[in-house]
Subunit: 415 residues, 2 copies
């Protein structure tokens, strides 16, 4: 059986070298990686073609095949992505604060790398270069375990990055690839506590659930978004239609898309036929509760499981609520703590929603689609955390760091 | 079998109320808790006496019995501890930063409670009131699971705090007690992902290991400290003796005490007999490697396991190293990432040690005993994290918070 401990040992060793590397040197090496991707386009496309040839056997849908497909342009975008990471400030080494304590000790809290990061992900090969460059920039070694559907693509991408490091005389184990895509090895990785400082799963709800159940390595959960738009009684209905339509249909396959629409009963009669007409332009299927369906003859009756389903598709659950309190209770009961929005003109309703809804990002009068590291201004994103520990919401470079207290004394002992 | 899900549901419900409570109200309730402890001294002491009566049956040593024993003064100290927490600033609600993004959205990162915190701890009953007050101040509900040796003490302490809340008309489930101290129920708690946002174990290496192996709830590891003092060739030997003695003997039972002494070969001949004489005043037993034992006729030969043992006793491992690099390699191999110190006059040695040693707190010319939330100026401490995620080193109120992005829009949709 494939032995992850060797990769773990190599990553740990490499991480010590990486932690001490200057920003200038890290940027030079990232530039070499970007150049290597461009120089190896032909081989990368050939490997990707192998994955595409296997796609039908692997039961990959047409939509997923599109996500899997690399083109010359997509490889150029991967290289640009790395150059974008080069342009970002390096958080490592920053002393966030430093103070003198009552004993005369100078105590500083410094940002340091996490160490070794494991990433388990599905389908899209660009995650390989994105994750590798973000981890590298923050001085972390990374072990990448992609899905079997992108095996040949991921394998060659990592080999290209490793060769770039090797050619510069740097330990190529800064970026490693798990070449066994079995569940057994993935499970082994989830319990590799001796070597992994953190595990970041990127993928669907099934993967996240399995990681949560199995992992003993500290995990940052990412990505599942059962998000709601609540249209308050004091909403501007035109705005509510624009935002609901955007949150549902602009890109339904992503985690910050909306899945359920909640409407205050006072505006349901006027709003529901209008939003239904708008969503019909994209053939959105509505799953409506008893009260909503009265205004939505074309809708399907919602079942209990609709309230907790992340469709990632042109489907939306719809429910009429008596009050903002009922809306908030519904959201806190069924949401995945990702992104939630209220549409209202009412000051107190907006504050109540911001205060009481439990989620990584809570919006007033804006689409949930904005929850994204680039949109937030972080310049990059390794994923969107839906847990409360360490990082919550879009994770940029800062979220890939830990801290260390550095303490300067002149002979102090404790009395 | 005891059902933790009921406690979980109650805690979750209570946490929503707590998250919205003003600082003034939380402080008033904490003051009621402090007063209730003082008002119920007699009953608390009687319950504690039951635990002491059972101590021999439970196989509790004399030292541990002392930690378990409550006195009138110790109860007063618990009440003062709560009043100390009242005096600290409440981090909840603080918006750490807020900016306008390119879409015109105002995005703020706000500190919010974690939600429901589980704490599994051993022996000392004062952890019950410390942890309860720190969690309460930060708007978190807490579920406390103490050891069976302090069962009656913990039970009455929680009852007293709950009655104080009840008398003020507040949901007493903000602070709950697990009245079944079996391992089965503890294991159930470690996997209570639906209700617990974080689990903080406080106790010995055995407990921490079990939690790491079993928990699916996000964990903050605390407390094990296999700490080193490295005496560099350029150390002031007088200072090195003072600091080594302090780090080993001032309070050997705590996690920030030193366990291993590393000495540069150039100063071993002069330093070792002197430090041995000093440590002999406390009858410290030395476990020395081959080269150190040449200067320490009274020492026992160290075995491999000595390098990774947290003695928590008047025992110290001693090893001679060729260089600072060997010292750093030894530390990074065997330490528990808690607290490490170098004694040196050399600027480059100090910087090298600070940069390359992997630990929560790294000291130059000071005792490891300073790693402590009170000493660092945080005003309180829920434990000392030895992991890299979320919190590292002494944890105060800030470390009991998560974040939420609050976003003010005026109709923005994503293009």
């Amino acid at each position: 059986m494939f032995d992850l401990t060797v990769l773990g040992q190599q990553a740990k060793k490499s991480s010590r070298q990486l932690a001490l590397m200057s920003t200038t040197r890290k940027n030079e090496l990232l530039e070499l990686m970007a150049q290597a991707l461009l120089a190896n386009k032909t081989d990368i496309l050939a490997a990707n073609q192998k994955d595409l040839d296997n796609a039908s056997d692997n039961g990959i849908s047409a939509v997923m095949q599109d996500r899997l497909r690399l083109t010359s342009q997509r490889i150029e975008e991967m290289a640009s992505g790395i150059r974008q990471v080069i342009s970002l400030a390096d958080p490592i080494g920053e002393v966030e604060k430093m103070w003198k304590n009552t004993d005369g000790l100078m105590i500083g809290r410094q940002k340091v790398p996490l160490g070794v990061i494991g990433i388990i992900y599905e389908s899209r090969p660009n995650v390989t270069t994105d994750a590798a460059s973000l981890c590298f920039k923050t001085g972390n070694a990374v072990i990448l375990r992609g899905g079997k559907e992108a095996f040949y693509s991921n394998q060659i991408l990592v080999a290209v990055l490793q060769n770039a490091l090797k050619s510069a005389g740097v330990d190529e184990n800064a970026v490693q690839f798990v070449s066994d895509t079995s569940h057994d090895v993935a499970n082994q990785m989830m319990r590799l506590t001796e070597y992994l400082d953190v595990l970041i799963p990127r993928g669907g709800a099934g993967l996240i659930r399995r990681v949560k159940e199995t992992a003993t390595v500290p995990v940052i959960e990412t990505g599942t978004g059962n998000n709601h738009i609540y249209v308050d009684k004091d909403a501007q209905l035109e705005m509510a239609i624009k935002i609901t339509d955007n949150a549902k249909t602009q890109r339904p396959s992503v985690c910050n898309a909306a899945e359920t629409l909640l409407i205050h009963q006072d505006v349901a009669a006027e709003f529901l036929p209008k939003i239904a007409a708008k969503l019909a332009e994209h053939n959105v299927e509505l799953h409506a509760d008893k009260r909503a369906i009265a205004y939505l003859p074309q809708a399907v009756a919602a079942k209990e499981e609709d309230w907790s389903t992340e469709y990632l598709d042109y489907i939306m659950a719809v429910k009429v609520v008596d009050s903002i309190d009922e809306a908030i209770d519904h959201i806190n009961r069924y949401n995945t703590k990702h992104s939630e929005a209220i549409i209202t003109d009412n000051y107190f309703a907006s504050q109540k929603f911001l205060n009481e809804v439990d989620a990584a990002a809570v919006y007033v009068n804006a689409s949930t689609r904005f929850t994204d590291g680039f949109v937030f201004g972080f310049g990059a994103e390794i994923g969107i955390s839906t847990q409360k520990l360490h990082a919550r919401g879009p994770m940029g470079l800062e979220e890939l760091t830990s801290t260390k207290y550095i303490i300067y004394g002149d002979g102090q002992i404790r009395e």
